[in-house]
Amino acid sequence: MARLRGTGMAVVNYPTGMNLGGDPSQALVHATTSGSFVVTLSATDLGQGLRTVIGQIAAETLGVEYGEVMVDTADTDTGPHDMGTFASRATHRVGNAVIAAAVEARQALLDVAAEELEAPVDELELDGHGNLMVRGVPARSLKVADVAALAQFKYGRTIAGRGSFMKPRSPVDPETGAMDPDSTEAHACTIAEVEVDTETGEVTVLSMKSAYEVGRQVNPALVQGQIVGGAWMAMSHTLYETTAPYYPAPDHGPKDFSEYLMPGSLEQPEIESVVLEIPSSNGPYGVKGVGEMTANSPIPAIVNAIYHATGVRIDELPVTPEKVLRGLDARKAGVS
């Protein structure tokens, strides 16, 4: 029995947003009587943490504490239109819409404060912690909560904003394929190390080390979550998953988690990553989409690592132990 080790690499770019555009996201923001803000959406949180990052983006733009922002999603009776959560679009599209709405709401807040403080509105600033003041004059300050109450009960105003973001729909030239298929692009480079058992063809992924460039991380912990979870899914796609194990034959389709193979809690390679932030030109605070792409570069990196370990090129996913073993047999027989 021999165990062979090898290392492989791969790089990818990944476009953010529905490729041809025409996919609006909208947001509404309003203040409550106590100076909290409600962001109303119809975008969905798939578990990636959309509510959290949208709350962060809204708080940042409004200049209030994160804890003062509530994100209400999703109900079509209250939330404005959103195309949906897919295509790594949500943080980019919804984030931009929320910034627009928050800017408008912030302006309404400052207008009330200016009147109350009898100061020019362009001399007011928010400190990000629930206070606003005349620039350079800390004594002339108000709490956001008080301004919200004043707006409601003294001035009879709303503190609210509307925001929308849409990359206009673009056509494809059917002859040349000329098109505008992305808003921005994120990048990744993965180096995978594997070990191959030459008797069984089993592949063990030992490590996946990646660099990601994602524009701006709104929440680094959640970006890490995507990177780690995506690396796992990529390993799963590479070595295990199929609904038609003998594709194109339609037989033996799995019906449960026993037959539908995915790595589990004991298949744990080392995962390490570094994240670069080079802000995009059009994402909220420079964001690019990171959700989908994390399952991409590890796949060819693992397949290349298998080649470097064994000399066997497998050009078909999933790379089952049987395929590796047949490849090793063919090499031994001098075929290839």
């Binding site: 940042e60 949906g84 897919f86 692009e185 990744a188 701006r216 609904t243 389709g253 060819p300």
Partner: protein, 449 residues
């Protein structure tokens, strides 16, 4: 945009975290409603068949049976989700009419008082089916004489008169003639299930005012609402979709497959109706990631410059379109990879076969292209006699480069990303690559702009 940021960039705790760790987060089917009925589907046991008859007499006698829905009950029995953004033609059926095109295709919806009764009634639906020849391979499906899956006479989606999405830049054939190496590869992948831990499902509930509240785990509430309104031929204002919390999507819950029929059942019975996929339905019937076959032919100079890339891709769409035609456009836009290649030809075919329809999944149209391209890059490196890093640095795209789809590259950071990866794994790059940047090349399209 901002020099100092307060909360963007901070790893704040997830706002839904306490709900998740206490189990108080309410997912779609955590709700129950008084009088709620259960919908289960009678499905085709064959890959391809003509429907000669449906006999519901035994099913109707099952205690707890409430009603059955067939194609004729669906006001606009066409399920074409991308119709919303103008993609044609209409083709899939909410419930099959004269033909079933994949094993598991929905034929009769059974609504019953309990899940058990619904299962039993489904088992008693008698289908008279005449089996038809089926095709499962994308290239077999394109051969003359192959069984035709679609209703328009061939097995590809038509892109403005072309059987594939085309991208053309430069002249690949001429460049192949100038290349020192021609490297060819064919890459195959298998269909993949999204496998969210929460299966696709919804509950449609009649409201007091003549509207219908639909609790759903769709990834796209308005997409689902608008499609449901079209299928049921009701104004959108009769529908009220509630969701936003999804137990894993990965693209599988962009399909609008459970809401229209559950809402129709609620309308026909005036009772809440739950339709949630079983795990085996999720595995065997729900959309998957497409299987792909990708042919690559590359022309490379002896010093490792990629001067021509020809890509011929076939995505197995299964029996119907769903989101896959759009995936091929995204694929075609990106199928040359993150490289600067002056001559590119891409033909991306969306092919219909007799397997369950495929749709969106994480990395839509690109994940499997990345697999093919990056394995191919390793083969090129080996042929040229350079290491895998070198071949990628030599060809990495930069800002201002003309992409195959003729948009100039912006926000390119591939070079910087590779440099960071090399540092991470302790790979010492040659000075030439350490000094490289994604800044526009001298003489590039944006130089001096």
């Amino acid at each position: 945009m901002s020099a100092h940021l307060n909360v963007v960039g901070q790893s704040v705790a997830r706002s839904d975290g306490i709900g998740h760790v206490t189990g108080r987060t309410q997912y779609t089917t955590d709700r129950t409603f008084p009088g709620m009925l259960h919908l289960k589907m009678a499905r085709s046991p064959l890959h391809h068949a003509r429907i000669k008859g449906i006999d519901l007499s035994e099913a109707e006698r099952v205690p707890g049976f409430v009603r059955a829905l067939t194609a004729k009950d669906v006001p606009h029995n066409r399920y074409t989700i991308l119709g919303l953004i103008g993609v044609e033609p209409e083709e899939e059926f909410v419930l099959a009419e004269d033909r079933v095109r994949f094993k598991g295709e929905a034929i009769v919806a059974i609504v019953a008082e309990t899940e058990e009764a619904a299962f039993e009634a489904v088992s008693k639906v008698r289908l008279d089916l005449e089996e038809l020849p089926a095709v499962f391979d994308v290239e077999e499906a394109l051969k003359p004489g192959a069984p035709i899956v679609t209703h328009w006479g061939n097995n590809t989606f038509m892109y403005e008169g072309h059987p594939c999405r085309r991208v053309r830049l430069g002249d690949v054939e001429r460049a192949f003639g100038q290349a020192d190496h021609i490297i060819e590869g064919v890459y195959n992948t298998s269909p993949i299930e999204h496998a969210p831990t929460e299966t696709t499902g919804c509950i449609a509930v009649p409201e007091a005012n003549g509207r219908y509240a639909v609790y759903t785990n769709t990834q796209a509430l308005y997409f689902s609402l608008d499609n449901t309104a079209i299928i049921l031929q009701v104004p959108g204002n009769r529908l009220h979709f509630i969701g936003g919390t999804v137990g894993g999507g990965f693209g599988g819950k962009v399909d609008v497959i459970v809401e229209p029929i559950a809402t129709l059942a609620a309308m026909k019975t005036n009772r809440p109706v739950k339709f949630s996929y079983s795990r085996s339905e999720e595995m065997q019937v729900s959309s998957t990631r497409s299987a792909w076959r990708i042919y690559l032919k590359d022309g490379v100079t002896s010093d490792g410059r990629l001067i021509a890339r020809k890509v011929t891709s076939y995505a197995d769409s299964g029996a119907y379109s769903r989101q896959t035609p759009y995936a091929l456009t995204k694929h075609a836009a990106n199928a040359a990879g993150p490289y600067n290649i002056p001559n590119v030809s891409i033909d991306a075919y969306c092919v219909f076969t007799n397997r369950p329809p495929t749709s969106a999944m994480r990395g839509f149209g690109i994940t499997m292209a990345s697999f093919a391209l990056e394995v191919q890059m390793d083969k090129i490196a080996e042929r040229v006699g350079v290491d895998p890093w070198t071949i990628r640095f030599l060809n990495a795209y930069r800002n201002g480069d003309m992409k195959p789809h003729r948009k100039l590259a912006e926000d390119a950071t591939l070079i910087e990303t590779m440099q960071a990866a090399a540092t991470l794994v302790g790979h010492d790059l040659p000075d030439e690559f350490k000094a490289m940047t994604s800044a526009p090349r001298a003489g590039s399209h944006v130089e001096g702009r």
